[in-house]
Point group: C2
């Protein structure tokens, strides 16, 4: 078992990563003095429940916990105020008190929703995360929890650090392949912004990662969490440094907004976005090898590196301007300086972005 401490002063917490950790949940609960007297509630989704809920529930019941559970439909639509209210109702009916814990068993959707319930139930109770996706290595660090408003994603939320994160790599075996690649895209991002050595390691271990080799996965998740954790502990409330975590996300979010249903998942969109950032970095005179290495890396992981040709450049730019990061003809972008290091530039010209989008659509040679 690997263990990483997310260092946030009195809100510090450990991330445990390893194969079969759900089996050890009871010991970990004991270690964290989670009281047996107060009922606890597992929040999960309907795809994950049949796979892992029974296991986790029986392990905890075996240790004397009164365990309730609530499953939400799979997918982003469950991150809604409606579902938030339903989980709240379930928590009240289950009799959760101020010493109770809410446990998220699932991916980022479950984590964000259950975490926001935990942040606001009786003004905040304990929150424990059991991530079951690779992408959730990202949401397991930083304490950002949220639901979506009809008008805007992640608009309603809080900062609420978990008590601990129990990351059982065995659960990843059932992840659909597309979710595997998508999650790895965010892992690689953490290398690209911070740690060239880890980027090299990812390239060399692409095969193992894609085959869900437990050792390789545990290492990659550990390193991904470590980078994010370092950044977050420097900037818990997102006032500065934390922005570097958005590498690839300005373009990525715009692509997600413009894409048709199920056309691009998050990790795919940001992979294209990171290739775009690498192209932008050339405008600042940085090495063209940044682009070459970034592109080859994502190709190796079977991730897209081009914008689907049918997407309108204007629509993509339009979506970006709705983003908060745009002001007066200049855009704020995370730009790679070399592999493993980025900078925030607020002097990216809109026409450069337009040209890069065209390049990403394959209309011009990069």
């Amino acid at each position: 078992m690997r263990q990483l401490i997310v260092d946030l002063g009195e809100r510090s917490y450990p991330i445990y990563i390893g194969e079969g950790l759900l089996e050890q949940a009871a010991q970990l609960f004991g270690k964290h003095a989670i009281p047996v007297k107060s009922p606890i509630m597992i929040v999960t989704d309907e795809s994950i429940a049949p796979l892992y809920l029974g296991k986790l529930q029986s392990v905890l019941e075996g240790a004397g916990y009164t365990v309730h559970s609530f499953s939400v439909p799979s997918g982003e639509t469950s991150k809604s105020l409606e579902m938030y209210e339903r989980v709240m109702t379930a928590a009240i009916q289950a009799g959760l008190d101020r010493h109770s814990s809410i446990i998220a068993l699932g991916g980022g959707v479950t984590g964000d929703l259950a975490g926001f319930v935990a942040a606001t139930y009786m003004r905040g109770i304990r929150f424990i995360q059991c991530p079951t996706t690779i992408l959730a290595h990202d949401s397991s660090v930083g304490g950002k929890v949220a639901v979506n408003h009809k008008l805007a994603k992640n608009m309603i939320g809080a900062f609420h650090q978990p008590e601990m994160v129990i990351y059982d790599t065995l659960t990843l075996k059932t992840l659909p392949m597309r979710e595997v690649r998508s999650g790895l895209s965010e892992v690689i991002k953490h290398g690209l912004i911070w740690d060239r050595g880890f980027v090299d390691w990812c390239r060399e271990h692409a095969e193992q990662l894609l085959h869900l080799d437990s050792e390789a996965l545990a290492y990659a998740l550990y390193e991904g969490c470590k980078v994010k954790s370092y950044v977050v502990s420097q900037d818990e409330r997102e006032s500065g440094l934390r922005a570097i975590l958005n590498l690839g996300h300005t373009i990525g979010h715009a692509l997600e907004a413009v894409a048709g249903y199920n056309e691009l998942v998050h990790g795919e969109a940001i992979a294209i976005g990171m290739v775009g950032s690498a192209l932008l970095s050339q405008r600042f005179g940085y090495e063209s090898e940044i682009h070459r290495i970034t592109k080859q890396l994502f190709e190796r992981f079977g991730l897209p590196v081009q914008i689907p040709a049918h997407m309108e450049t204007d629509a993509i730019l339009e979506a970006m301007m709705h983003d908060k990061k745009f002001k007066e003809g200049q855009m704020v972008f995370v730009i790679p300086v070399h592999i493993g290091k980025v900078e925030i530039r607020s002097d990216v010209k809109v026409e450069w972005v337009r040209e890069v989008i065209e390049q990403l659509k394959g209309k011009e040679r990069a």
Copy 2:
């Protein structure tokens, strides 16, 4: 203008109390460096809007702020998730960003609702309170914000300290008399738990207070806030000392639960509750003058000191047992030791409580 600092480390904030302070809102906003660039939103209720919204809005617009507003129906029913979502929608449509402020102009209902929106809009933005009731002196200290769930009051919320509190005593002139008395009940509570001198002062200035004399009111609000502030700064997250603020509330909440529509407002219910706690204190051998003084004090303010005879003792006890503070035949109560000092007792026998309820119904002489 009086000024009190609620001392909570880096979350400390001032409460400004004085006549005509809404006129000075722009200066106070300037003093607190509330940015003019980002739009702000005033949340108020439909009774208060016609009285004070125009004034506050024009003062702030005069200083260059872009001011949006949203009015909710008056009354406790607006502290709902439905209304929360509507205020959120208004905030998004108004284009509030991470540097925006939400301003509550109103009583505890507006403050709790708007404060919870501020706590969770984009994971938390600035919150400024402009209380317009006497009771809101209580909610202006401590940062507790919440909405009600259909199944339980104040169940969904957060701790979110305001940036500042602007308490204009002029606005209190339009308060219905019943709300005046109700609010003063909570002011007196702060004396009873902490400061005998202030209790004496209240008794001597009952006339001025009931006639809304600005000087007397400002002093009483200042002293009430000061006691609460001291207690809260010792125990921000409500783990111990803060419980003394519940003097009279165990019985009071039960009475509110059992009372018919509009039969008892909060301050009335807790006045009866405080008389009940004084009766209970006799069981622990404390002076009977505690009861005499408490009862006479509330009578002087025109507050009820008896439980309406038609309320069933069993129903009241039942409601109390639903309260979190009950366990195994013993109840946790805040008990006066003498005027100006209380203690938390977890060894109050249920039969004593039954007898006290009977006494409060006038069935037995106290």
